[in-house]
Symmetry: C2
Subunit: 198 residues, 2 copies
């Protein structure tokens, strides 16, 4: 049946979903893989887009969870919204901060929950991403050289004309090949300079 | 009412949604702002997480569309899935490629569509992101210096111990301050070196 205004955010459904979302959060922080897998719809149509991956079907999602090593110990929810429609559909959206691989991220997590007659509420679709700041947008280039040039140009406040960009990236990539033998030098036998302490 | 298996992907609902998704795609490529705004639920509870922004409420979403300059002329859908539940709810997921600011991206777009009794189908929630490759993951640091160090370390295949990272970033930031006067030199009066052509 089509939704009416009165179907949006019925208080008893909101309460039910808030509890489910809290339980999911606890499982995520604890990396409780069995619980996380069970929250998702066990169906080939379940889907999860993550920061670095696109997963289709419960099997792929489950395999991803099992293989994943994630340290969410400092994950903090900074904004949380929930909208429910009728008694069998809800959308949860969370913004969070976390330190991943030593760098601070601003994460966004969207989940669609559906209540099934036989198995109750399950997540049928999820999308997790990290906000890209304009300063970092250049880092999505597929080559490491392009990512380096974008970050260096941004750091030095030296904009590069997009027309020149392919040549600049090519030059940098060439330079890195020229210095490869130098980079490959084994310095393990060299005595490090003495370390001065105050 | 809770969903039954028979409610999932009813053929006539799938057809209806495919047409809506195609119309949305055309509006997006054409940057038809009025159409794009109209596809979204005109409500304070509508939500859109974009690559660089989190938008809450129809007003914010509309303001974002109006201010946005986006060139999606080479956007190509590479994977498209649609799941419908009952006759009033659907989830559309698209993977796409596009060149943004000169660099190729792999985008992911999730939309939740709800059919309202008075206004018909609307997007109530959307999440768009670009896939992060492991090589670029370091570029999310909040400072430009951190982004630069991550890209340089990755480009040169010189991993930096996370324990040392804050000091390395700090040193680089200090160096950039030291060379600031050099970078500020006005070279506009200097004759460029002659250009040799083959």
């Amino acid at each position: 049946m089509p939704m009416l205004s009165a179907d949006v955010n019925r208080p008893e459904i909101v309460v039910e979903l808030r509890e489910l979302c809290s339980a999911y959060d606890r499982a995520l922080i604890a990396n409780d893989v069995d619980a996380l897998v069970d929250f998702f719809w066990n169906d080939a149509l379940a889907r999860r887009f993550g920061v670095t991956e696109e997963l289709y079907g419960a099997d792929d999602i489950s395999a991803f969870r099992k293989a994943r090593v994630v340290d969410y110990s400092d994950r903090k929810t900074v904004n949380e919204t929930l909208v429910t429609f009728g008694d069998s559909m809800a959308i949860a959206a969370v913004e969070f901060t976390a330190t991943i691989a030593g760098s601070p991220r601003h994460g966004r997590q969207s989940q669609v929950w559906v209540r099934f007659a036989d198995i109750g509420w399950r997540i049928v679709s999820a999308h997790v991403s990290h906000r890209v700041s304009p300063a970092n947008a250049g880092a999505f280039g597929q080559s490491k050289a392009a990512a380096y040039v974008a970050a260096a140009s941004d750091f030095l406040d030296m904009p590069i004309d997009p027309d020149f960009m392919p040549n600049v990236v090519n030059d940098i990539a060439t330079m890195s090949k020229i210095i490869a033998p130098l980079m490959a030098l084994d310095l393990s036998e060299i005595e490090p300079a003495p370390k001065f302490t105050a």
